[in-house]
Every structure is written in structure tokens, then in C-alpha cells.
Symmetry: C3
């Protein structure tokens, strides 16, 4: 990225509560506190890095109101309620300048069925396929090599990256983002054993992805056996995540990378699943539950807001305690063996 912001421009964008110090530098980069050099912007997003502010070489720093140090020479502090949020505002501005809206219209190399409906403000990029009966909403952008199946529906202001794939009859709400290689609507994994062979159970439902959902690269969301697999409004899904048929996630959930959720499981709102978590099928997880990375959920979790970890997952504090005790097992075995000997001696003595 190529950026160039004066302090004055930054002040106009993030509207700090206070400014301390000054710099003649034009900001041409963004970096973490220890890595930043003259010409860089940095920020204190996490109070545990507070000690790194004083020695940072950044020319401009976004800091929380309660930070008490003084800027160095040719350095400027901008005090804002939430430095991370201020950076997000700036980054959004940068992103917009990097990414002017694409030209609306259908690229001549795209293959768009005549019976589909593409809003005139939408962009269908090179080598996309839009099948019969599909509908593409206002301002939506299919970047390149995207596939939209028969009768699929995409709302407004969505963005589908190269190679994203929305199978027939599936639906995206508004402002949905699919990153590269996402597959929405492949068949759920269901078979009946008949005469020793796995006979396919047809998967005739759909996937419904609600408004403001973002799905990371190469994640897969399977269509329902019948009815719907649902990703609730505002839920964010990282890369390489598997969501099986008939799963229903609540609103504003977070599924980190490589999570797998098995069939017919339901997540309430604001559930957070750490990286590589697995959740078995046909269970429910209560609102606001958090499961630590690598955890394996093998049964429903009914208490809202609890924190689980481990495989099988259990309440976090219990799991931490068990982990500590496991490391003391070698000692425990020794202790028990020596005690056994002492008890034997006592028995002999008392005999």
C-alpha cells in the first residue's frame, strides 16, 4: 500500500480528544510499537504493551486518554477513546482509497444466463458464471471466476472473491463477504447403509447466509438435508472452517480458523469458537459461550456465557487444573508407591 498522511490529515480523520507533541514527518506506513520507524504511525491497542510506547520510534501514536508519558522530539501523540477503533477508521479510509468502486456491469468474458437478474449497479467480473434464475443485488461485486448457481440469490453490497462458489438455490443477505475459494451449498454428508454400501441421502435444502456475515478463504458450508443451514446475522467465520448440513449459528458468532461444526448443531448468539475447535452433531451451545482453541465439544453446553476448553471440552478452570495435575502425575505415582511401602511397614509393625 502507498499512503501519505500529514498529522493534520490524521487529526481530521480520527478527531482525537487531545494532541501532545508534533512532528514534521509525513506518515507513509503503519507498524507495531517496537517495529515502527520515523514516518510510521503506531498505536497502543492492548494495555499490556504500554511499556513499549516510550521507546517507539513512530512519528505519530494513537494512545488512550489515560496514557501519561511524553512524546519524544519530532513525535506526536493523538489521544483517542479507543486507539484500535481509531486505527480501524483510518484503515477503512486507506482501503477505500486503494479500492475505488469497480465499474458496474458484466465483464464480456463472464458467462451469465439470460434468465438471471443482475442489478445494473452490480459488477460481474471476468470469467464468472451466473446460472439460470440467479439474482444479484444492488452494488454487489463478483470479483472474478466466481460461480453463482441456479436460482441462487445474493443481496446488496456483497463482495465475492475469486473462486468463491455459491451453489444453486442458496442465499446471501446484504453486505456478505465471501473470500477466495469459499464453497457455500455443497451437499451435506449423509448416507444410509443399504446392502453394505453407503447410499446417498439427497441433500435438497439450502444454505441461508444472513446480513453482514464474512466467511474466510476455502471455508465450506453445506446445504441442509432439507430445510436450511443458517449463518446468523453478523457472524464472522475464518478460513478453512467446516459448517455441516442443518447447522444453525446465532447472530454475531465468531468461528476461528479450521473450526468444524457437525450436522444439526445449533449455536446461540455471540458464541465464540477458537481455532481448530470441533463440535459434535445434534448439540446446542448457549449464548455467549466461548470454547478455547483446539477444544472438542461433545455435548450441549447450557450455561450462557461460560468458558470451555479441552477435548472433551469442560469448564475452563477445571481443565486448567487438570492440566496442572497431569504434569504432576509422575510425582503422584512415586508418592503413592512410597506410601504403599510405608503402609506395608506399618502393617508389619502392628502385626
Amino acid at each position: 500500500m502507498q499512503i501519505a498522511y500529514s498529522v493534520e490529515a490524521l487529526v481530521e480523520i480520527v478527531k482525537p480528544d487531545a494532541v501532545r507533541g508534533s512532528t514534521s514527518q509525513v506518515i507513509t506506513g503503519i507498524a507495531g510499537l517496537p517495529d515502527a520507524a520515523a514516518g510510521d504511525l503506531s498505536f497502543l491497542g492492548n494495555s499490556k504493551y504500554r511499556n513499549a510506547v516510550g521507546s517507539s520510534k513512530a512519528s505519530v501514536l494513537f494512545l488512550p486518554p489515560d496514557y501519561e508519558g511524553e512524546p519524544a522530539e519530532d513525535q506526536c501523540y493523538l489521544f483517542v477513546a479507543n486507539p484500535s477503533a481509531a486505527l480501524a477508521v483510518l484503515c477503512a479510509r486507506i482501503e477505500q482509497s486503494l479500492w475505488p468502486q469497480p465499474e458496474p456491469g458484466i465483464h464480456p468474458s463472464a458467462v451469465v444466463d439470460a434468465s438471471s437478474t443482475v442489478d445494473p449497479t452490480a459488477t460481474v467480473g471476468p470469467l464468472c458464471v451466473v446460472e439460470a434464475g440467479a439474482r444479484i443485488g444492488r452494488g454487489t461485486h463478483l470479483q472474478a471466476q466466481v460461480y453463482v448457481g441456479r436460482d441462487a440469490v445474493i443481496g446488496e453490497d456483497c463482495w465475492l472473491a475469486p473462486g468463491a462458489h455459491l451453489a444453486n438455490s442458496c442465499r446471501l443477505g446484504d453486505r456478505v463477504r465471501l473470500h477466495g475459494g469459499v464453497v457455500v451449498g455443497a451437499d451435506g454428508f449423509g448416507y444410509e447403509v443399504i446392502d453394505g454400501r453407503h447410499t446417498k441421502v439427497p441433500q435438497v435444502g439450502i444454505v441461508e447466509v444472513q446480513d453482514d456475515v464474512e466467511i474466510g478463504a476455502n471455508s465450506t458450508l453445506d446445504r441442509a438435508r432439507f430445510s436450511r443451514t443458517v449463518i446468523g446475522e453478523g457472524t464472522k467465520i475464518d478460513n478453512l472452517v467446516q459448517v455441516a448440513h442443518n447447522v444453525v449459528t446465532g447472530k454475531h458468532c465468531i468461528l476461528c480458523a479450521q473450526v468444524g461444526v457437525a450436522g444439526s448443531t445449533t449455536l446461540a448468539d455471540y458464541v465464540v469458537l477458537g481455532g481448530q475447535v470441533g463440535v459434535t452433531g445434534h448439540v446446542t451451545i448457549a449464548q455467549g459461550v466461548q470454547v478455547g482453541g483446539g477444544g472438542g465439544v461433545t455435548a450441549s453446553i447450557k450455561d450462557p456465557g461460560t468458558v470451555y476448553s479441552g477435548n472433551p471440552a469442560m469448564p475452563y478452570h477445571l481443565e486448567r487444573r487438570i492440566i496442572v495435575l497431569q504434569r504432576r502425575l509422575p510425582d503422584l505415582f512415586k508418592k503413592v508407591d512410597s506410601m504403599l511401602k510405608e503402609v506395608e511397614d506399618l502393617k508389619k509393625a502392628s502385626a
Copy 2:
């Protein structure tokens, strides 16, 4: 999906052993027992949901012969030997009606090498690539944006979803289904360290996928170092599964989502690996072995039909017992410490 079936039509399709009750509703949807409303079909596929039948609002229910309740007013029970299988028959009918066979032929936007052989009954969809020497069998359907490498061979009645990718010289049998983004035949992961650098070991074998295999979205099957990586007849593979070079799976195996099988491992027939299972390289797993979700197989499993779980995987009942005892570790440590004190007291007393 849009469906409309009268009870009479359903009777003709699933041929029930008995009918109890009647309904004037036309069936326009399919739903689980608790979610179903008037106009829906439901079914009892798992006897643990038996109690939910009586309160279901479904207009038609598929039930096993031994179900003893009575239908409500305007509700009809159809008794069939296997309600799940009956539903599968119905869903297959629905699927066919939704998906008329595509027109045979090569879409003008596809890039098909003149030296390849495409059966005249096959369909090569938009923006597919078929390289030199490849062969596409009778009735096979490459949906869109599929890649078929040089000298690759695809049998009859296969279906490859958008973005599926069959690398050079690899082979699919008959009735194979590859979902979106599947990569068959990428290089196996093999290097020799020479002078501190990982030097690539060329991977010049192939992948052979036998008849009636289905592979889920974004799964990856690597070509052999030399010789063949083999997926046995009738094996079903879910999404995001990794099968490394020179793996051989038996017939009718089930690999659930996010499974990883390392190089040169062999699975016998009817092996079932639950979600996120990992299997180390160069081991063998006996016929009919089942490994529970999240398990890690670190050594060969030689007893057919056994059930393993845990990481490292061990016999299921042992693992369950250990999990229970782990949760009692805090108590055990306390107990041992208090006993230690008592033994000390006894020793003093007896001294």
C-alpha cells in the same frame, strides 16, 4: 426447493406397508418433528425422538412399523420399514425434478484440447479446461470452471462441481462426485534435506479414485510419490479432508470432515474416521475400525471392528474411563495428601 405432493403421490413413491389417518394438506415442505407445520412432511429416523411424534404438527409422517400412537386430526401416518430410507427415496425424486439432466456437449467458453476425448453424451460446462489427452466418459458432467489435467481419465456418470480440479494422469472411476474446490492430484509433500535446504522429491505417481466415491468440498488428495494413491470403491469423504501421498483406503470407508491421513497409511474396508481425526503415516487400520471425532491415531490398529478414541487414540472404553478419572484428579491429589499426613501420624505414633 419448491415441491407439492399429495398423500396419494407420496404413497405411490414410498409404498408404505400401512397408512393411518388422512390429511387434506398438500405437502410443500420437509422438516424435523418439532419444527414441522401443517403442509410439512416429517419422519422418525431415530427412535430417541419417538416422544416428539405425538406433538408434531406435520401433516404427513413416515414412521416405523412398531410405532403405536394415533395421528391427530388432518394428519396421516405412513408406516415404512425404514423411515430414513423412505425419505431418501422421496428426496432423490425431488432432486431429479429439480435437476433435469444438463444438455450434453461442450460449452463454447470451455477450453478443450483437440487431443482430448469427450464422450458425446458428456457435458462440459462453462469455463472448464480439459487438457491434452484427457478422456471424459459417457454421461459425465463437468459443471463449470472445472480443471481436467493432461491424460487424466474420468469414467461414466461422474459429476464435478465448480472449481473441482483433477490433475494430470489421475483417474476417476464411474459415478464419482467431486464437490466444489476438490483438488485431486496435487504433489505429495516430500523433501530430502540437502545442504540445509528442503529439496523436492518429485511426485510422479497418480491418484486413482474408484467407482462410487464422493469427495466433499475443498478436500485434497495428493498424488503418489510413485505408484498410486487409492480411494477404494464406495468410500465417502467429507469436506476439507487431507489424504496424503500413497495412502490407500479400502472400500466403503467414511472419512468425516477435516480428517487428515498422512503418507503411505492404509485403511482396510469399512473404516470410519470421525471429524478432525488425524492418522499418522505408514500405519494400517483394520477392517471396520471406527475412530471417534478428534482422535489421533499414532500406531496401527490391528483388531477389526474395534472402536478407538482420544489423542493418542486408544480403545474407546479405556479412553472414556480415563476421562472420568481425569476429572477426579483434583480429589485424588487431595486424598493422597491427607492420607500422607495420616501415615506420617501413624508412623510417629508407632515410633
Copy 3:
């Protein structure tokens, strides 16, 4: 693959130190020791298979200098310092003969922006997209259906398989290989909670993949929040691996299949992560550390060259010991309970 090598041709290619025996067979295949038949080449790559040499039916075998057996009739031993390396040399030769360099130039079906720069010796295959400002170096080969985003840069002699995807502004060094479906440069996974909604933190950095890196099918490498996600020179990444934003790997690391590395984590040089390993965010792993398959790294590992395993990961020998002791937990609980009883008896007796 179709090959045909006389013993004389093999001798010329691998230049053995010594030859023992002879064969009239022409070599038309390569196979493992137990599977090989007349006409096959085999080799002893791992001394644990030494006993399998004597009974192998291979016509030619590559063996280490210290192997002492005698060839059978019509069988020839070629002694080389490193049989695996010799096989790699042969396989490279085979690979070259199978894969003549593609014709340079841009396929007419590719969509290449006029403002991009494609070296005249590079090959842009069918249905690729190369966006504005992108640069493709000398001898690089985009096989088919590849996506190269705006201002992305690819060095010399790279190879991108079908469906590989390099997002805007990201960079590949020289001799980089991306297998099918790899996504380099999707957005990192970062949100701030504002008014109960996950608000996107724009990800405006890039991914930098250095020279001689190979990345397996459907792996995903996210662009940095700002600055760079870096894959160090010579690092090899297997299939379905997730590398989050701002991760930095050292040189010559190995990331096996389905590994996940969370954001801002740093790996030093020569780190090896086994299959399905997860590494939490914001930690560092020292040079040459190896983590066994399925391990979960939850904290920095500071001692170079150590071996870790388990979840949470701990030093390998400790984890092995704990696993053994866990299996003895049922006995321990019994032992403690019976001892408790004895102590009670002793107390009563001494009372």
C-alpha cells in the same frame, strides 16, 4: 507415467559407486520393496526396511554402500551414497520428460489487464485473470484458471496450479510453487466489537512469500492487518494449512497438512510443525523446534531444537510419560482406595 530405462541409462543418471548383478529387464515402473515386480525399480530409503530387500522382486535396486546381500538372478543392485536422493534425481528426470516446458505466451482465453507486465518467457494459461499493475516474472507458469490481483508481483520460474489465487499487492519470490486452490492474501480475521456488532478491522497489509517456498493445495495465507505476513525462504507448507495475518515464518520451516498458526506468531528458522498442529497467536517458536502431529502450542517455546508434543504442547518426553501414566490411572485409583482402607484399619488398630 510411462517410462522405460535400461540399467545402462540408470547408471548414467545416478552414477552409482558400485554395481552388483545384472538384469535384462527394462525398467518401466517404480515401487516399494514388497510391491515391486520384474521390470520395477525399488530402493532402500529407510534402514528399517533392510530385511525387505532380499525378498524384493524388483529388477533394479538402489542400495546404500553398507548393504551386504547378494542380488537374485536377473536382478541388479546399484550402490549409491543416498538411495532416496538417487531416486529423487531419477524422478526429476522423469518429471522433466513428462512435463516439457509449456509454450510461453498468453492463452487467448486469459483476461490480462493491459497495465500488467508479463515477461515474454512466462506462460499465462487458459482462463487466468491478471489484474491491473500485476507483474509476472521470467519463466513463470500460470497453469489455468489462476487469479493474480492488482499490483501483485510474481518472481521468476514460479508455478501456480489451477485455481491458485494471489490477491492484490501480495508478492511471490522466485521458484515459488502454489498448488491448486491456494489463497494468498485473503483478509486477516480481525474485528472490534462496537455496539454489540463485530466491526471489521481493515486488513491493508500484504503477504510476502520468499524464494523457493512451496504451498500445498487449498492452503490459506492471510494478508497482514498492516505491514506483512511473511513466509521465509525455502519453507514448505502442505495442504489445508492456515497461516493467519502478521505471522512470520523463518527460513526452511516445514508446516505439515492442516496446521493452523494464529495471528502475529513468529516461527524461527527450521521449525517443523506436524500435521494438524495448532499454534496460538502472538507467540514465538525458537529455531529448529519440532512439534508432533496434533500438538497445540499455547505459549512461546524458547529453547532451540527442542521437541514438543501434546495439547497443550509440552516437552516430548514429559508428554510420553504422562500418556503412559494416564493409562495407569484406573489402577492408581484402585490402589489409593485400597490403601485408604488399610490406613483406616491401622488407625483403628492404633486407637
